[in-house]
């Protein structure tokens, strides 16, 4: 399945795009998504540890099973003030 992933904050700059596409096996988890992104988009890899994943506007854990219909977002914490 082909997932469209929306990037925020420094991920958008590191990825050079507002959205990226990631191909995963059907039934893949958020953990698998992280691994795939780190492999295909090395520039994002250093930020992934602290980044939270949201599916359909809800934060989800690494065990969450993804489906192609879900709207995926990668949200890094920011600290400026």
């Amino acid at each position: 399945m082909l997932l469209e992933v929306r990037l925020f904050a420094m991920l958008r700059e590191a990825g050079g795009a507002e959205r990226i596409q990631v191909r995963l096996e059907p039934g893949a988890s958020v953990a698998a998504l992280r691994t795939a992104i780190a492999r295909e988009f090395p520039a994002l890899a250093t930020h992934l540890g602290a980044t939270r994943v949201a599916a359909n506007l809800q934060f989800v854990s690494d065990a969450h099973i993804l489906s192609a219909e879900q709207e995926i977002a990668l949200i890094p914490p920011v600290s400026g003030g």
Binding site: F8, A9, M10, E13, T46, H47, G49, A50, R52, A54, L57, Q58, F59, S61, A73, I75, P76, P77, V78, S79, G80, G81
Partner: protein, 361 residues
């Protein structure tokens, strides 16, 4: 209770436009007058936040910040004037807020909040507004507030984006549920660059959440993270659930030590003060800021963070290096990276560019 906080004639005139709001009224104004709010960080977020809370008549406003006003703050930290340069922020802000509204009490705490003083600083306040500019203070503040049962209205920004939420025990997940792993790199506004209105926008939204909470009106952002994208002018709301495995609020866990940021004692080893620097002969300064080569500090080598490890070959292990960035935060990460890469004599200059400029005079 309401009778114990009477409003004077001048207060009734001052707050007339909000007294006439049905959900606020005299009882709401009295509730604001009785309220005590601690604002941690009086910078880009904290200055508009403090201005609106003082103007609205929040009875006691505490301000925590150990920084002084610099010219480069004025692009976004709207409480300060050009004449305030070098003045400690809490005192400049106090004077300005008292001029804006002499009816409210402003308490200055000229110190940086960390795990060692957070409980003392938060004690006695009803609510804390997290307007700091670094993760270490955010964790220290939200951990202490959670323990003490004090709600936190949180805002943070990065370049053109901001995040806003409310963390309140028994109502919402905690900050560590949202952000369990401290990021490896942290950029402050001064290092990352920021459009001046962005922290202003978030600071005013933060003030809105503070006032709603003090008045008990509207729907709180507790349990939701609001992401504000200024360039696309888009607002995205993400639902948050408590993490059962959370190191702070999860079941059967105690200390959040495993995720804690390095404490002062560890970072002190990486940092060098001007006094310690005076004891060292032959030091090479490296400007690690992500600026153009022509903007690098004079008398330094320029090696931006992004190219740090590529430049490692050019740094002999026998030499002593002192890294400089805007505030000493990025340079501390850089020093840790270089030590890890096998360079033994490398430190981060505490206080960053301002201290460097004082040294080179």
């Amino acid at each position: 209770m309401a009778q114990q906080t009477p409003l004077s004639a001048s207060e009734i005139e001052r707050y007339a436009r909000q007294l006439s709001l049905p959900e606020l009224g005299v009882a709401g104004q009295q509730a604001l007058k009785r309220s005590r709010v601690l604002i941690v960080g009086v910078g880009g977020l904290g200055t508009p936040l403090a201005a609106y809370l003082a103007a609205a008549g929040v009875g006691t406003l505490g301000l925590v910040d150990d920084d002084a006003v610099s010219l480069s703050n004025l692009q976004r930290q709207i409480l300060y004037t050009t004449q305030d340069a070098d003045c400690p922020k809490v005192w400049a802000a106090k004077a300005r807020l008292e001029a804006l509204n002499p009816e409210v009490r402003i308490v200055g705490h000229e110190e940086a909040l960390d795990a060692s003083n957070a409980d003392r600083l938060l004690a006695g306040y009803d609510l804390v507004a997290d307007a700091t500019d670094n993760f270490a203070a955010r964790y220290a503040l939200t951990d202490a507030a959670w323990r003490l049962g004090i709600p936190v209205v949180h805002a943070s920004v990065y370049r053109h984006e901001g995040q806003l939420s409310v963390f309140a025990p028994s109502e919402s997940p905690c900050y560590r549920c949202l952000c369990p792993i401290p990021p490896e790199t942290t950029l402050r506004c001064g290092d990352a660059g920021v459009l001046g209105v962005l922290p202003g926008l978030l600071g005013v939204m933060q003030a809105t959440e503070v006032l709603k909470r003090l008045l008990g009106i509207g729907r709180s952002l507790a349990g939701r993270l609001l992401i504000v994208e200024a360039l696309g002018m888009r607002f995205t709301e993400i639902g948050m659930a408590s993490d059962p495995a959370c190191s702070l609020c999860g079941e059967g866990t105690g200390e959040p030590a495993s995720h804690a940021l390095p404490d002062r004692s560890e970072s002190e080893d990486l940092e060098i003060t001007p006094e310690e620097l005076a004891q060292l002969a032959e030091v090479t300064f490296i400007d690690v800021r992500d600026v153009g080569a022509d903007a690098a500090l004079s008398g330094t080598r320029h090696l931006p963070m992004a190219r740090l490890l590529d430049g490692l070959q050019s740094l002999p292990t026998a030499m002593r290096f002192v890294l400089v960035c805007e505030y000493g935060e990025q340079s501390r990460h850089a020093a840790r990276l270089l030590r890890g890469a096998g360079l033994p004599h490398v430190w981060s200059l505490r206080g960053g560019v301002r201290v460097f400029e004082r040294l080179s005079r």
